[in-house]
């Protein structure tokens, strides 16, 4: 009972926080609004990666792939098909990233640890190469410009505030769905696989299938962020889908706290503010970005949220004497092959 109520409390605080975000954002200047929108878009990407990396323990360097398919399908549809609607765009983006993830999952899931990292890295390179070289479809390095978001029930999304609320809505739906996913028995199995795949196998679980499903779900959600990104920037080019995008998604998850869902969203916000806000003050801001990577790992391995939670739990543990055990982010042992 007390566990349930503490969980409800968490959900309440998260809803309150995003409600507050929704309430105050229109009062910021336009540029800050778009940074917040960008953060939400990448938050979807980071949360989807968290399913794979935080919950299942599969570290992927290929998450930019689905982002790319979502973004490019949107770009091509909007610029080539007159009067295309939002539903079609999301359908195409999701469908495509679903199919791609379903295919790549077959190739990748067998690999473990660093080899999984390597094979997903090679996916990233292939897709970037496609975006860059398949000139007739992707426009090559010229990219595709003029991706105007179509209206939603007659409301124009070309206004930054409208687009912010739309993105916030999509984000909350994704957050809700992913939350249900990780709380479901399926989600528990994923954590079980992360903590000890051999044991889960012994218990009769088809761990391959579970990992595969996590891979596909994670990829499909990442496609959503691609769709939004293309409409937000109204422009897409290969530089948006290069390897660094995938690495940055890893950073967002690590920075916010793996296996927390909300943590990676916070991580996304921090990285976006570095890129779009700090860079307007400091010319050599890559130094700060690099330092963020290093400091995160050295001093906040469990992520910001993990750190805060750890502190809270520790305080509570003091009060309730052992009632709550601090949640320690356990890094699965590297499997030596």
């Amino acid at each position: 009972m007390s566990r349930l109520s503490s969980e409800l409390k968490q959900v309440f605080w998260v809803i309150a926080a995003f409600g507050a975000l929704g309430a105050v954002t229109p009062f910021f200047d336009d540029y800050t609004q778009t940074i917040i929108t960008r953060a939400l878009v990448f938050a979807i990407m980071a949360m989807s990666l968290d399913i794979l990396m935080g919950y299942t323990g599969l570290r992927s360097m290929g998450h930019g792939v689905y982002f790319a398919f979502g973004a490019y399908s949107t770009a091509i549809l909007v610029t080539k098909v007159k009067g295309v609607g939002l539903l079609t765009l999301f359908g195409a983006g999701l469908g495509l990233s679903f199919l791609v993830a379903a295919f790549l999952g077959f190739l990748a899931i067998r690999a473990v640890g660093v080899y999984f990292l390597m094979i997903t890295l090679s996916f990233s390179m292939v897709v970037w190469g496609l975006a860059y070289r398949w000139h007739t479809v992707t426009g090559g390095d010229n990219g595709i410009a003029g991706i105007l978001p179509p209206p939603l029930f007659g409301i124009s999304l070309q206004n930054p505030v409208a687009f912010f609320y739309f993105t916030l809505g999509v984000f909350l739906i994704c957050l809700g769905l992913l939350y249900l996913l990780v709380k479901s028995p399926f989600g528990k199995t994923l954590v079980g696989i992360r903590e000890g795949e051999a044991r889960m196998k012994m218990l009769g679980y088809n761990t391959w299938l579970h990992k595969y499903l996590a891979f596909v779900i994670s990829g499909t959600f990442a496609g959503i962020s691609g769709v939004l990104w293309a409409m937000l920037n109204r422009f897409i080019a290969p530089t948006d889908v290069e390897l660094v995008t995938s690495v940055e998604a890893l950073l967002m998850v690590a920075l916010g706290g793996p296996a927390t869902l909300v943590g990676p969203a916070i991580g996304a916000a921090i990285v976006m503010f570095l890129r779009y806000w700090v860079s307007t003050f400091i010319e050599r801001w890559y130094l700060i970005l690099g330092a963020t990577y290093i400091i995160t790992i050295l001093y906040a391995r469990e992520g910001i949220l993990g750190k805060v939670e750890g502190l809270l739990a520790w305080r509570k543990a003091g009060r309730e004497a052992g009632a709550a055990i601090p949640r320690v982010q356990k890094q699965p042992e590297e499997i030596r092959t």
Binding site: D29, D30, Y31, T32, T34, R38, H135, G140, D141, N142, G143, A145, G146, N233, R234, F235, I236, A237, T239, D240, R275, Y276, S279, T280, E283, R284, W285, Y286
Partner: protein, 418 residues
Amino acid sequence: MKAKWLVLLAAAGLALGAGAAQGAPREVRIGFIAPLTGPFAQVGKDQVNGFILYLEQNKYKMGPLTVKFTAEDYEAKPALAVAKAQKLIQRDKVHVFLGGLLAPTGYALAPVADQFKRPYLSPAPAGEDQTQRKRHKYYARLSFTSGQCQHALGDWAYEQGHRRIATVGADYAFGYESVGGFQRGFEDKGGKVVAKVWPRLGTVDFGPYLPLIPRNVDAVYALMVGPMSLAFPKQFKAAGFKMALLGGTTSTDEFILPNMGDEAIGYVTTSHYSAAIDTPKNHAFVKDFQKRFGKMASYYAENSFTAALYINEALKRTGYNPDKIEVWLEELKKIRVDAIRGPVYLDSYANPVQNCYIRKVERVPGDRNNLGVKANSLWNVVIKTYPAVSQFWNYKPEDFLKHPVYDKDFPPCKFCGQ
């Protein structure tokens, strides 16, 4: 202590009130988006420095207006350039913005200009269609189109007696358009382009491409960018090629030239600018730039300098009211200036009509014009000037625009393999 603050506050309030009462804007806000991190960081710096040089020489004043200048980094990523343009427009409330280096950024930024009704002056991105088939209302280019001067080089190459030429062009839009311009200029005269090789953008090992260049040609035309420009002539010579080497705007630009070696001597390229233009105006510019920034002036710097000059002139003509954006942008498009690079005016498609210089790389002994530059440097010595070259070369704009934009397969390679 408290009283002192009150006095200060009151004074500030008064000053503010006075400013508001006067009404007229006291400043013009200009934004510049350049790649200040990443592979093109130094080129981006040259771009910004060219603009700053003009501002410093004019003490950050344009007529009665104080210039508020903001530079933003975009990492050479077009999508980031879009975001930074929004930042400049929405937060810094700039009256006009400039920026971008490579063509894709130009294509990405022009729609932003129209969206926010804020003029975008392009100081470098050379994508042909921006002033041809995909024009934007709030856009004007103060640099060049990729093919513009290349037509002239094609013409010149034929005059030199070259009949068969192979091209090696960086495999992206700027490469296609430059090679396309050269090919048209050359083949219109009767020359034949017999092979077209397309190294990937950023290629620094030309191993796979060198064997594809036929050796029985009179000359090779190479369109290289950045590090490619540095590596290509060296590997070309080392692979035993002896024929003449011709090249495009970026193949020996002054950003890359100071770090080239003797292998570049004799390389003939074309551009709308050369640091070796022999006019007092250019001497002063090269000297000032060298003194202020310790570097050879490049076309990137000159473009920005000229852009600043254009903005100032346009403001002057409209009584220095930067808020009447439409008016002064229209004025800007009508201006003829005597720029560092020579006389410039914009055609009705908002692209400069200007001199094209055919330049040969030579090692010039000493510091001939006392410019304070390194002695015995390589220079792009001007050997011929094609005056007032338009982006449409010697075609009527309507006729030129009937063709598709220059691409990998346009103009078609009719003589390939011959």
